[in-house]
């Protein structure tokens, strides 16, 4: 997948644990793990909205495109 979810960077910046993030965004820890290790195929705008709200960032801070 050429789209990478930079979740670990943002979490580290805010010193937020995966468990707390999952609870505040309303995702299951399993789905957070899927996002973190790049196995996610698609993300809802609603999920992206909740993640940006919790991390106080922009979608561009979370998503990155790289060449294959």
């Amino acid at each position: 997948m050429p789209i990478i979810v930079r979740l670990d960077v943002e979490l580290a910046r805010r010193k937020m644990s995966v468990g707390e993030f999952a609870e505040r965004v309303g995702l299951t820890p399993a789905n957070v793990a899927v996002l973190k290790n790049g196995r996610a195929k698609a993300v809802r705008f609603a999920t992206l909205d909740a993640m940006c709200r919790v991390l106080e960032c922009q979608p561009g801070d979370l998503l990155e495109w790289v060449e294959d």
Partner: protein, 159 residues
């Protein structure tokens, strides 16, 4: 959803009823019927056992379709109809219809070449056409089910 649940429940009642009637035909009515016909027309008596076997086989095909439909309804109730599990049962329905169709084609050709009046071959031709439509319809539904299953699987991967 309420309408769907009621339709599924009613469909199950009638499927069970239909299955019961078919079993009754299979074990009691059909063998006796052909024995009686053999007595009435001794020159056609050689057809007694082949005709019994063929009709019992058709009833069996119908029963396979009923059981598969029942299983598919269970998947509908569990909201698992758009999963790989349902394709097997749909395949079984397609194969049962195909088997009944092949035997019907054989009977149609046999009767068609031996008949002295067009009534029975015409009736068989009608049945053959109807069964062809049913079988091809099932193939189309199977393709739609497969497509819907892929869509559902993709949607479930969305976080």
């Amino acid at each position: 959803m309420i309408g769907e649940h009621r339709a599924v429940a009613a469909l199950r009642v009638f499927l069970a009823l239909l299955f019961g009637i078919l079993v009754l035909f299979q074990v009691m009515s059909l063998p006796g019927q052909f024995a009686h016909m053999a007595q009435e027309n001794p020159e056609m008596a050689y057809l007694r056992w082949p005709a019994t076997a063929v009709t019992v086989f058709w009833v069996l095909c119908a029963q396979v379709v009923i059981v598969c439909t029942w299983k598919l309804l269970t998947l509908v109730k569990k909201d698992r109809i758009f999963s790989a599990a349902s394709l097997g049962w749909v395949d079984a329905i397609v194969w049962a219809v195909a088997a009944a169709w092949a035997v019907l084609l054989g009977v149609f050709l046999f009767v068609g070449f031996n008949a002295d009046d067009p009534g029975l071959p015409l009736l068989l031709f009608l049945m053959l056409t109807g069964l062809t439509v049913l079988g091809l319809l099932m193939v189309v539904m199977r393709a739609l089910l497969r497509r819907a299953t892929i869509l559902r699987t993709d949607m479930e991967a969305v976080i």
